[in-house]
């Protein structure tokens, strides 16, 4: 880094700590592939900063690197909370490159994509142990929430003593069942939403402010 940029960075860092009451909390968005994590991260970023975090896709593992959007300021009841949102690749215990071949991809591309996906998941696990202050766990409410990976991940999050909110996404779809998620993880607060349609975002922001502010 050049001396000037370094100087500028340190000045802006000093200024931001001067003006905000506290450092932004780093909130990790976790959950299985295709739950709508990136759609949610983009909606939060667009609602409060004007730009997006990264591409959304129906192809699993579109997000292969943890992506961060810093200093998202959410205003609730005249107060404002500062968060950094971290969109993570969907956590899984297996990645098979041949699954990408079904999405019209050449073998080389599929292999590269799966290698990036595995690196991304490893990185996301690392972040969870070292670098996040709170977790939003996103589930697709049209699917069975009671998978081994979800149970294991939520167990890992609980063991880290991190504040956690469960988001039951895709309530715009007919097969959606928020109750099924509430029953599976009764120890946590579940917030229904549609990240795609923007349904129930007021409650989403209220809860974010309440849990992570």
């Amino acid at each position: 880094m050049g001396l000037l940029t370094e100087l500028r960075d340190s000045i802006s860092r000093a200024a931001s700590t001067l003006f905000s009451e506290q450092d932004p909390k780093r909130i990790g968005i976790y959950g299985p592939p295709n739950a709508g994590k990136t759609t949610l991260a983009n909606r939060i970023a667009r609602d409060w900063t004007g730009d997006a975090v990264g591409p959304e896709s129906s192809i699993p593992h579109e997000t292969r690197r943890a992506r961060r959007k810093e200093n998202v300021e959410i205003e609730r009841d005249g107060k404002s909370v500062q968060i950094d949102i971290v969109d993570t690749p969907g956590v899984t215990t297996k990645v098979d490159y041949t699954e990408f071949l079904d999405h019209d991809m050449e073998k080389d591309d599929a292999v590269r994509r799966s290698r990036e996906a595995t690196e991304g998941v490893a990185e996301a696990m690392h972040w969870l142990r070292e670098d996040v202050d709170g977790v939003i766990y996103v589930l697709d409410s049209t699917e069975d929430p009671f998978t081994q990976v979800n149970t294991m991940l939520i167990g890992i999050i609980e063991s880290q003593d991190l504040p956690v909110l469960i988001f039951a996404n895709k309530i715009d779809l007919e097969e959606s069942s928020v109750k099924r998620i509430r029953n599976a993880y009764p120890q946590h607060e579940t917030v229904p939403l549609s990240a795609l349609e923007g349904d129930n975002m007021d409650e989403v922001y209220d809860k974010i402010a309440e849990y992570f502010g």
Partner: protein, 128 residues
């Protein structure tokens, strides 16, 4: 596992690992033992599961070892479920960790969970 490397050509080897055996190992040794077994095509059954922290490291190390046409990860099932909600009142009263759970780990391309509920895991294991 060191003592059990020779196996019938056509079968599936199952390693049942006692809690006692695991107790003496460091986290990374446990993970190495599990992944070595699974990468040999074995089904590893742990009498007493891993801690959440070890589970998270197991996922991380698994990811770094996945390689195309060779190893595409693991399937893992635990019983009883690891959530605190499923702990009995007595367990919570005694401050028992919820990590003491039977855990089955196998190669993702060879093991498929057919059915699972509070009291039963039914899995299909195919030969290599």
């Amino acid at each position: 596992m060191a003592e059990a490397t020779s196996k019938p050509r056509d079968g599936v080897q199952i390693d049942l690992i006692s809690a006692e055996r695991m107790d003496g190992l460091a986290s990374m040794e446990k993970i190495r033992m599990i992944l070595d077994g699974v990468r040999d095509g074995n089904i590893v059954v742990l009498e007493e599961g891993l801690t959440p922290d070890e589970e998270s490291r197991l996922i991380e190390v698994t990811m770094t070892e996945i390689s195309p046409d060779e190893f595409n990860g693991i399937e893992i099932e635990t019983y009883p479920r690891s959530e605190t909600a499923d702990q009995s009142f007595l367990d919570r009263l005694m401050g028992k960790e919820s990590t003491k759970k039977l855990t089955v780990i196998g190669p993702a391309n060879q093991i498929e969970t057919l059915h699972k509920d509070e009291t039963l895991i039914s899995a299909l294991v195919s030969r290599k």
